[in-house]
């Protein structure tokens, strides 16, 4: 017969054993820990957009399309510029004619079925431009939904698509909350901004950053504390798009307004 004392002892032993995770029994090798600490990622590419400086010239979109071989007249683009016109009676009109490849040369705002809307100068409460591109999220939903491992994140944080591996199911196009993915009209596979991966690896900046005359777009390494982009992100008031989605976007904006979605 079991005594109360042995029952309590054994019950405590079993309870203790079940809450103890297996990992707690692992013996750490100090050399491996040191290697993990030192050989961790040294580069994390991030983007900084200053919406105050953007004038909507669209040179970034033109340069991106040519640099990355996106058919020039196809209605798809890896990056685009949006115009926001907020009127004094509280309406917000948004457009991006042809992804703003040829810039904004008219005050008429394309409102699809409502036609071209002209807003009088004195009715404008505020108006500005917002460049958009892939946010290269730290938690990329587009990568999570890929059923074949065609889209992935590199060690330096850029999300790429393997054109040979993509089966064109379109889950990632639907999964991206920022709408940056589309099908490439020539290769018929998912396509997205690569932060000009080929240029970054040659020590250059992205084509859109080099094309911007006003410094509205900047690219930098978040893990380098001396990088001018890192300094702005860590010391100034920056915001990201759709933070509530938990995607941890890595394109930071200066001067974002609440109308921007």
């Amino acid at each position: 017969m079991i005594t109360r004392r042995t029952f309590c002892k054994q019950a405590l032993l079993v309870a203790g054993g079940t809450v103890l995770p297996l990992a707690a029994l692992e013996l750490f090798d100090p050399r491996r820990l040191l290697a993990e600490k030192e050989e961790g990622a040294k580069v994390r590419w991030v983007f900084l957009v200053d919406t105050h400086k953007c004038v909507g010239c669209g040179f970034c979109v033109k340069a991106c399309k040519i640099e990355n071989e996106i058919p020039y007249d196809a209605h798809v683009s890896r990056t685009w510029v949006e115009r926001y016109v907020v009127t004094k009676d509280g309406r917000t009109l948004i457009d991006s004619p042809g992804a703003a490849r040829d810039g904004f040369t008219s005050s008429k705002i394309d409102q699809n079925s409502a036609g071209m809307v002209e807003v009088k100068d004195e009715e404008i409460a505020k108006a500005f431009f917002v460049p958009k591109l892939c946010n290269q999220c730290d938690n990329p939903p587009c990568v999570q939904v890929c059923p074949v491992g065609a889209t992935y994140q590199t060690a330096d944080g850029v999300v790429l698509v393997d054109r040979k591996w993509c089966i064109g199911c379109g889950y990632c196009v639907m999964g991206c909350p920022y709408g940056v993915r589309f099908f490439h009209p020539v290769y018929n596979v998912a396509e997205k901004c690569t932060f000009c991966y080929h240029r970054l690896h040659k020590g250059m900046k992205t084509a859109c950053v080099d094309a911007c005359p006003f410094g509205a777009r900047q690219v930098g390494n978040l893990l380098d504390p001396d990088d001018p982009v890192t300094k702005v992100i860590t010391s100034e008031r920056v915001s990201v798009l759709k933070e509530e989605y938990g995607t941890k976007p890595q394109v930071f904006y200066l001067g974002l307004s609440m109308e921007v979605k």
């Binding site: 990622a41 919406t51 105050h52 400086k53 953007c54 004038v55 909507g56 010239c57 669209g58 040179f59 033109k62 340069a63 040519i66 640099e67 990355n68 071989e69 016109v85 040829d102 810039g103 904004f104 040369t105 008219s106 005050s107 100068d121 404008i124 505020k126 108006a127 500005f128 431009f129 990329p140 990568v143 999570q144 491992g149 065609a150 889209t151 992935y152 994140q153 590199t154 060690a155 790429l160 393997d162 054109r163 040979k164 591996w165 690569t194 991966y197 080929h198 240029r199 690896h201 040659k202 250059m204 084509a207 080099d210 094309a211 005359p213 006003f214 410094g215 307004s257």
Partner: protein, 162 residues
């Protein structure tokens, strides 16, 4: 045990073997979990090199200076100094080998990208000098009066053209 009992097991084992051989032949050896772990790093490693190998087309304005120093000096101290040569003249590619010459874009639409007046005071656009393209000499090329490399000067070719 009788043979007919074992036969389905052999078939099942053969199917598994065929599957394993097909997987070995079809999946590239570098396909697997890489730096970003199982959730984000599952890919064909050599694809990163394929993206790095994309040809650079825009080689930045610095590449133009050795041959076109006169143009560089022209634009350097003008309000247009920040505009990259390639924005108006096209991607450099392997110029002057390929293409031999780049475009000289004289279209109004190029200038209007910045200089069509839009009264957007919340952005830098509102403080750029602008025109209404429908009323400001709509038939004329901007270059007939304005010198694009230095808009503060009138176009030196102005008299010749008119």
């Amino acid at each position: 045990m009788k043979n007919h009992v074992w036969r389905p097991l052999y078939i099942a084992l053969a199917l598994v073997a065929v599957g394993l051989v097909a997987r070995y032949l079809l999946v590239p050896p570098d396909f697997g979990v890489h730096e970003r772990g199982y959730m984000y790093g599952w890919h064909r490693k050599s694809n990163e090199k394929e993206w790095e190998a994309v040809r650079v087309k825009y080689r930045t304005g610095r590449s133009c200076i050795p041959c076109h120093r006169d143009k560089h000096d022209d634009i350097r101290n003008s309000p247009h100094a920040a505009i990259s040569c390639e924005n108006c003249h096209g991607a450099l590619l392997d110029h002057p080998k390929d293409p031999v010459s780049l475009e000289i874009n004289r279209s109004r639409s190029l200038c209007l990208r910045c200089h069509a007046r839009l009264p957007y005071k919340a952005s830098l656009r509102g403080s750029i000098k602008g025109i209404n393209p429908e009323t400001h000499y709509p038939q004329a090329e901007c270059m007939m009066c304005h010198y694009p490399h230095n808009p503060k000067r009138p176009n030196p070719k102005r008299e010749v053209r008119s």
